[in-house]
Amino acid sequence: MTIKLFCTIILTAMFVENYVLQQFLGICPFLGVSKKLDSAFGMSVAVIFVMLLATAVTYPIQHFILEALGLEYMQTIVFILVIAALVQLVEIVLKKYVPALHASLGVYLPLITTNCAVLGVCIDNVDTYMGTGIFGLTFGQALTYSLGAGLGFLMAMVLFSGVRSRIEDNDAPPSFKGMPITLISAAILSVSFFGFAGVIDNIFK
């Protein structure tokens, strides 16, 4: 894979097709865990980790087991089980061997099972017309795309936690306090990502 393609895929996944702000995947943690910068960061790192791992496992499963046996219809059930099992496994391994990391990331791991961004990226990667629009991503490209999607998630979380820490002290109308004002600021953040459509393609032309 050339550096150019690598950059294109990463930047496309991060900016143009940002999972949170453009595709509405992973909204629950985006709204729920973005109050504090450190928890937003911890959650995002855990998501990137699980996304990469899940892609590394589900991609071969799809190509060498499901498609080979004509069992494509089992995709959803197999993928979600793989993710759930992986999350559990990672938690156990971290707890046993890297307790320091477990202390900082461990609490976010179980939440990731129900994070649609992870399942979304796995399905996107094996689906031919999704994602970057490249027909049949290769294994390397799929991993790159996952990394980009994860970084995009991290960026959205970190940016938004900054926005939220300011909103906290603001005097919003009573009905708008809490969730509504948070969503409206998310809308404004999301507008800024429009600027990236078409840019990435033309940078690496």
Binding site: V16, Y73, I77, Y129, G133, I134, F135, A197, G198, D201
Partner: protein, 190 residues
């Protein structure tokens, strides 16, 4: 005694229940899949034919042309003619092309009917990710009918959409690749 009971309660029963649920669910899925698969295939075929009939009416059915087209590079875009069909009564050809769009590489999927003289009969956007309200107008009737009757020499006479210059440009590049593919087919795959 209590220990064996605990083992049974703690390990054997949960494992058994989970295995059973998995088995039953897989069986159920296999069964539903068996029923729906032929219907799904039929629906997909019908929809594909409908789109083809729309861009090339009165074709009396279509036969797939078995040639693989070279990728066409036009003004920085890469376009892929993915499928080509010949009308059974010789009324023309239908090409499916996937090209670049403003919303990303390989995001603009078009289907184009061409008559035997190389004039476009009609075009249709199958899927795109252009900006809503701007580039998405390339999928609208107003724009796609501008292409009716256009042949390879007249590509540049077709006006783009004001405010959606990039999307129109990408669309035009896809048309170029369709004409190339048409010439390729007429030349017997050369």
């Amino acid at each position: 005694m209590t220990k064996t009971k605990n083992v049974r309660e703690d390990f054997v029963k949960p494992i058994l229940v989970l295995t059973l649920i998995c088995l039953v669910c897989s069986g159920l899925l296999a069964y539903v899949n068996k029923i729906t698969k032929p219907i799904i295939r039929e629906t997909e075929e019908r929809i594909a034919t409908e789109a083809m009939n729309e861009v090339l009416p009165d074709a009396g059915g279509f036969a797939k042309i078995d040639v693989s087209f070279p990728d066409v590079y036009a003004n920085g875009d890469t376009n892929y003619v993915t499928e080509a069909y010949k009308a059974n009564n010789g009324n023309g050809y239908v090409f499916q092309v996937t090209g670049d769009g403003y919303g990303g590489k390989k995001t603009m999927k078009l289907i184009v009917g061409v008559d035997p003289d190389g004039k476009i009969v009609e075009t249709k956007t199958l899927s795109h990710s252009e900006t809503a309200g701007m580039g998405s107008k390339t999928a609208g009737d107003d724009y796609r009918f501008r292409w009716t009757g256009v042949d390879a020499s007249a590509i540049d006479t077709v006006d783009g959409i004001s405010g959606a210059t990039f999307s129109s440009g990408h669309y035009k590049n896809s048309m170029r690749s369709v004409f190339d593919a048409f010439a390729y087919v007429m030349n017997g795959g050369k």
